[in-house]
Amino acid sequence: MMKLDMSALETQFGAPAGEDGGLLFDVDGAAMPAMEFPNCPDFDRFQAKTKDMVKNKRGTTTLAFIFDKGVIVAADSRASMGGYISSQTVRKIIEINPYMLGTMAGGAADCQFWHRNLGTKCRLHELANKRRISVTGASKLLANILYSYRGMGLSIGTMIAGWDEKGPGLYYVDSEGARLKGNRFSVGSGSLYAYSVLDEGYRFKMSVEEAGELARRAIYHATFRDGASGGCVSVYHVGPDGWKKLSGDDVGELHYQYYPVQKTPVEQEMTDASTS
């Protein structure tokens, strides 16, 4: 049986409530209402289940796709802690090196740290082998690291996008150890909404502007319906010379761009009552 960690529940007034659920200490007359434990058969598993529940939410929307002129990477910028929006200005697209990008979904700290770590490893590979690392190699390095931490609570759902000698490359890597090569991915709680718009509008041959606009629209629609996504949409393009940020637009403004306010026709005009 796991030893319950009560430290969070301890107050100045004494230990948390026991079975009686009510007031335990009467310290100097000030009665501290004791916290109630949830009434469940297995409290130990309850804590683990709560962690699981919150973890898998991955409140975010990120997407990336390959087209004939390279890779488009886009993401929202909202960070949420349950129902609380902790930030609307999170940078979810991480620049690993001038020709490779990573997206962040899941635990912000985990994603940021491991992406920077990956950047270090990529640079060392370059120096040792006198050639840039391929997107395949970089994603494999990250996937192997995450696999070795499997089960220890890392929460990372990332896409590694870049341009190497073999052309554009896109891989999905997550903290369960999965690593998938693909042409279109969307990760996060809003990914379902983004997928519908993305899959509907996707063509392999597109101009960079068209592709960027498709990505922007897809993320915007995800932020419209998913509460855990919002803030601004960042869109990047990775071409043969490296990545370039195409745009960063607030979703509120995008909304009125896509759906401008319709002037409703006046049904009845109020006229001044004639005085006579």
Partner: protein
């Protein structure tokens, strides 16, 4: 047990690592090996000392394959070679697993050289007593490559090189006669270099040829004999031409 932790390779007062130099001596006593890089072919050749009658010569292969596109020949202590080759083979596969790409010739050479260096700076071990010649094709740019490592752990790339017994004469020959070659000419150059120090004949030489398309191929004795015959014919013709010229003049 503490006695075995003392380094075996220590500096001498005048800056030498005697164990490494003794290892180089062991290399100089090993069989001759030559490597030649052509524009589309790389060739490894090794001297085959006369095999005892009862020995199965097929079990004494001197040229080892590290991966589909990399091969290695060495001179020196064969048992040390076995260990080094096994570690290199594992590293080739490990590299494929971690970066999903085959090794470059430079990478695996660097690994083998690094291993050899480690054993000159660790407690209780002696250096590997062999020099290797590593050939192969880079998976990225299809360029042929030839590298050499030695017991001290240094490595460098070569157009053609020799190691083992009489390597100096072979290297002199190669320096005099090297030119950019391809295909069969590269093989001939390697065999000619070996024939400088080895008794003529297919049963005293082992040759392996690697091309980008066909990978590594060991030549049959009969094929080697053909090459040798060609070379001897060319030599005879050259001799005759030399003798003939002054008379005409």
């Amino acid at each position: 047990m503490a006695r075995y932790d003392r380094a075996i390779t220590v500096f001498s007062p005048d800056g030498h690592l005697f164990q490494v130099e003794y290892a180089l001596e062991a290399v100089r006593k090993g069989n001759a090996a030559v490597g030649v890089r052509g524009s589309d072919t790389v060739v490894l050749g090794v001297e085959k000392k006369s095999t005892p009658k009862l020995q199965d010569s097929r079990s004494v292969r001197k040229i080892a394959r590290l991966d589909d596109h990399i091969a290695l020949a060495c001179a020196g202590l064969k048992a040390d070679a076995r260990v080094l080759i096994n570690r290199a083979r594992v590293e080739c596969q490990s590299h494929r697993l971690t970066v999903e790409d085959p090794v470059t010739v430079e990478y695996i050479t660097r690994y083998i050289a690094g291993l050899q260096q480690k054993y000159t700076q660790s407690g209780g071990v002696r250096p590997f007593g062999l020099s290797t010649l590593i050939v192969g094709f880079d998976p990225y740019n299809d360029k042929p490559a030839l590298y050499q490592t030695d017991p001290s752990g240094t490595f460098s790339a070569w157009k053609a090189n020799a190691t083992g017994r009489n390597s100096n004469s072979m290297r002199e020959f190669l320096e005099k006669n090297y030119k950019e070659t391809s295909g069969k000419e590269t093989v001939k150059l390697a065999i000619r270099a070996l024939l400088e120090v080895v008794e003529s004949g297919g049963k005293n030489i082992e040759i392996a040829v690697m091309t980008k398309k066909d990978g590594l191929r060991e030549l049959e004795e009969s094929e080697i004999d053909e090459y040798v015959a060609e070379i001897e014919a060319e030599k005879a013709a050259a001799e005759a031409a030399k003798k003939g010229a002054p008379k005409d003049a």
